[in-house]
């Protein structure tokens, strides 16, 4: 494989990184080829000791994703990075991924079910308000006390929804951190081999 092919393959595998990072990374490998050629090596020899561009590119992507996952602040951002990390992990270490996939799916389902509760409660609260507005005239009939109890129910429902949301937030963060830690521990090994 010639230098130009190697560089373009490597660029393709890291194309999702920020442009500035790609430029930096590619510069390192170009410099490596320049120095290797100056030392009298052929491109073939240089590529052989570098390792295939695909393996090297995946290694770079995984390192970057783990760092991004650890530093991303918002939950949405972090979930997105963790999903991308899992996809790459599936390619890099299919067997370790399979070990992860069952408990992950179970936990993910539980989490989704948990998140459904506050949404259902909020929907119920909206229903109550709608009911009150629709039957505004009724309050005059059923009396101010029933009206008040309905308002209390409404506030209570919202309160419980907020509470459960907070618990779910903590649980979701915990699961994401667990996945990050597991993947990080696994990629602590260099898997790319010489060509």
């Amino acid at each position: 494989m010639r230098k130009e092919v190697y560089i373009s393959e490597l660029s393709r595998h890291i194309r999702k990184l920020p442009a500035a990072d790609i430029k930096d990374i590619i510069a390192d490998y170009e410099e490596h080829f320049t120095n290797g050629r100056a030392a009298g090596k052929t491109d073939e020899q240089i590529v052989q000791s570098l390792g295939m561009p695909k393996a090297v590119g995946q290694e770079i992507m995984m390192n970057t994703l783990v760092t991004t996952a650890e530093t991303s602040t918002t939950l949405v951002q972090r979930s997105e990075v963790v999903l991308r990390m899992l996809l790459l992990f599936l390619v890099l270490a299919p067997f370790n991924f399979l070990m992860l996939v069952c408990p992950f799916l179970v936990l993910a389902c539980l989490l989704m079910a948990g998140w459904a509760i506050p949404f259902a409660l909020v929907a119920a609260a909206i229903g109550i308000v709608a009911f009150i507005f629709q039957n505004f005239a009724l309050i005059g009939v059923v009396g101010i006390l029933t009206g008040l109890s309905m308002a209390c129910m409404w506030i209570g429902t919202i309160g419980i929804a907020v509470l459960i949301s907070l618990v779910m937030l903590v649980l979701t963060k915990g699961l994401l951190n667990l996945i990050i830690a597991y993947v990080k521990w696994n990629v602590n090994f260099i898997t790319a081999r010489k060509a």
Partner: protein, 105 residues
């Protein structure tokens, strides 16, 4: 030997070499792959991360053969990290060796 090396060990090797003198990427990579059977392409990401974590500074220097080279210089933080990691590694080795000696009886 198994080609799955713990990155931490390669990291310690890189830190130790650069602690002694400034290196440019190619010679550092060659130095390590002379002793350890590792895909050279995976050392650059390590160099990059150590630089991002402020263990290294980089600077460009002209060379007589072609374009300028990127050199790595260790920082104070890098120096103290190297010392800590070296102590950890030596302790680990000592304990493992003691354990293996027990096996020899």
């Amino acid at each position: 030997m198994n080609s799955q090396f713990k990155k931490g060990i390669i990291e310690l090797c890189v830190l130790t070499l650069v602690k002694n003198r400034d290196y440019y990427g190619y010679e550092l990579v060659e130095e390590i792959s002379k002793k350890v059977d590792i895909a050279e392409g995976t050392i650059y990401p390590i160099l990059r991360r150590l630089t991002q974590e402020n263990y290294f500074e980089t600077y460009l220097q002209e060379s007589d053969q072609g374009p300028p080279r990127k050199y790595y210089r260790i920082t104070k933080l890098g120096r103290s990290t190297q010392e800590n990691e070296l102590t950890d590694w030596k302790d680990f080795n000592k304990n493992i060796n003691a354990l293996l000696k027990m096996g020899e009886g």
